[in-house]
Structure formats: C-alpha cells, structure tokens
Amino acid sequence: MPFNLQNNSPTSTKRVLLAIFLVIPLIMVTLYAREGEGGPLHSVQNAVGGVIAPVQFVGSQAGAATETVGNAVTDATADAETLSQLRERNAELTNLVAQTEEYKQEVERLQELLNFKQAYNLEGIGAHIIGRSTDAWNQTITIDVGSSDGVATGLTVMDASGVVGQIIETTPGTSRVRLLTDPQSGAAALIQSNRAEGVVRGSLDGLLYLENIDADVEVEVGDLVLTSGLGGSYTRGLLIGQVVKIEGNVGDAARRIVVSPNSVVHATEEVIVVADATDSTSSANEDSSEG
C-alpha cells in the first residue's frame, strides 16, 4: 500500500511534527558547537564525508569521460557520413594524442611537485584532489590519501607553488583539507624580508589578510610571506604568498595587509601532504640568511 503524504491529520499533529523537526536540529547545532572534534556529530559528519568522497571522485571522472565520449560520438558521426576508414583512424590517433597530452601534463605537474619537494627537502605524501566543498561556507578539498597512508589531522598540505591548507579530517582512504583561504583558517606567518610575525587569515571575499603585525613594522608590496611554524599548526618556512596591498600606514594599528596566495587551488589537481617539518625549517633558515 502506498504511503499517503496528504493532509488528513489534525492541526495539532502538524504542529507537533513541525515543533519536533525544529527542535531536533537546534539540539544538534548546540551539541555540535559544544562537542570536540571527536564528538559523535563530528564523527558522523566525518564518516559521511568519507562515504561521499569516492562518489565525488567517480563524478569528476564521469565528467571527464562524458567529454571524451562526446568527442568520440562527434567523430564517429562524421565517419559514418563519409564512410572513410582514414578518418576513423585519424579520430583514433587524435584521441591517442589527447590522451598522451593528458599524461604529459600530469607528468609535468608531478615533476613540479617533485622538484618543489626536493627543493624544500620535504618528506611528504603525494595525493590527488578528488572532491571539493559541497557548500558555500567551507572552502575545502578532499584528497585520496587517508589515515591508512599515515595522514593525520593538522598536517600541512601544499601544491607546487605554496601552502594550500591543512588536514582537518581523515578517514582510512581520504582526507579533507581546509584551504588557507577559508575564513576559519589561520596560519602563523612571517614576512621574509623583516621577519615580522603575524597570522594569515582567510576571508569570505577570497583574500588572505596578514594580521597581528606590529604597527611600526615596515611592510612593502611584494614582500614574501612564509609560514612561521609558531604554535605548530603549519610546517615552518613554506611559501604562502606575497603582499599585494597595504591599507594604512606604518604606525596605524588598523593597518590591513592583503596577501595574494601563491597557490591557485581550483587549478590544482595534485598536492603533497607534508609529513616531516624538520628539513623545511632548515631550508627556510637558509633562505632567510641568503635574503
């Protein structure tokens, strides 16, 4: 018997139902805000994230496959019209060239990552980005390595051009990374030229702001900003970006320093999860002494 969703119950029942479905989420929000990262609601959210990650991966692969199939269908239609084996062969070769180009580009990206890893003497785990945030309030990515690969909450994530973010959740096979540009992100940072320390924060407008810098410190557009490693939240000495705008003057306590992130995450497909901080610290010190 099919279930009946139509209106055939008294008003009081409707009100009770409505009240229940309003109170339950409020209780959940309160619990979520009060419990720690290991609380039951966080755990369920983490588990759901782990479940949908492979679906997102399949989705992104399906998107690419659909495009390829679309091209193939177009080519095949042209072949049917002309009945030319030569054109079929040409289509196959075109696909092959496209595939080879794809592999070539991937190799180049991985080579860049490898060079970066070697330049910084990083110990890390390479990973592919398999998913992105499903809501507008969190800037996160999902990567295809997890706790079974040695990834843990708090590790720094980088791409070939700089810091991307930090691991916030792990499952055995996947991890979620909160991007540096997320308003909830904060990285202890320093300006390379004068070693002034502050905190780089993300924002809803997509920019990074360097805060808590002493008012009397001189900052110039173009100064490089690195992670300072203070508090242990991010690996020390990694490039975050460069100063692109300074709102206010030296001595102005309300001065705002805008930092352009070096890494462009939406164009990135592979990242490194930095596992060892020790060597990058010495590398950063060498950089600073040279500077």
Partner: protein
Amino acid sequence: MNEPRENIIVIGGAVVAVLLQILLAPHIAIMSIVPNFIMAFVLTVSVLRPTNLTPAFAFVLGLLYDLMGNSAVGAMAFMLVLVSFAAQKVFTVLNNDTMFMPILVIVVATFVAEIGYAIFMMVTGVGVGFVDAFVYRALPCTLYNSVLALICYPLMARLLSGGNFKKKGAGHSDMTIIR
C-alpha cells in the same frame, strides 16, 4: 490525482537533488559560491506540493546537506524546515494562479534561509561579520539558488501535473493544496 506517482517523483527528485549537490555543485561554483540544489528542490516542492510530511522531508534533506559539509550539523535542517513551512503557508494565502507568485515566494524564502544560515554560521564559529556574510555569501547564494529554483519549479510542476502544467498556468491549481 495520482499520489503514488507523485510520491515517486518527489522522492526521485530528492535523490537527484542530493546527487547533484555532491557531483555537480562543487564544479559549477562561481567565486566560491556553491549552488544549493537541495534548498531549491525543498522550497519548490513545499510550494508545489505541500503535505504533512513537508517538515520531515525538509529535515532529512537539510540534515544530509549538513552532514556532507563541514558546518554545524542541524543548521540547514532547521532553516529548511522553518522556511519551507513558512513558504507553504504564505503561498497558500497569496496564490493567485500566476507563475509570478510561487517564484516570488521561493526567492524570498531562499533569501530568508540564506540569511538564517549565515547567522548560524556566525554563531557557530565562522569568524566573519554580518556585513561580510551578507555581501559575500547570503546575497550571491540567494541569487544562485533562485536561478536553480526558477529552473526546478516549472520542471517539477510539469512532472507533478502529468504534463498539464502549461494549461494550468502556475501548475498548482490541479494539485492537492493544504490549507
């Protein structure tokens, strides 16, 4: 009326909305504004086919949205239950069998839901001010989700009315209306 058929359409639509949220929404984000297929679908169905179980329906889909993301669990569930119920009631009063009214109700409901969600985000720890939250998230999200609802509404109206949507105008008059 063909209730089992309508139920299947609504449940099928809900599954599609969730899948679109997981698979498509992250890839069509504009300037970090990720569209909310689930909100567009819930509000559309609330206006098109209000039932006693609308709050439960909104709760389940809202909760799924919360669990898929990284924000406070329960925030979207609460907003969708509240706003879908209010939209349903307002539309029952204002319905004038034109296409304009349901669209207006859905757009206003989307705006209220986004503002409410922004307040939840601020209260639960996203360190942003109300003006930033309004300008950079609530307003653009409302616009994006309204566009989705504008696409979703005629589609669902046509499906639920069994193809008679065009003749009936708003597509609501041939459905069960809860008053």
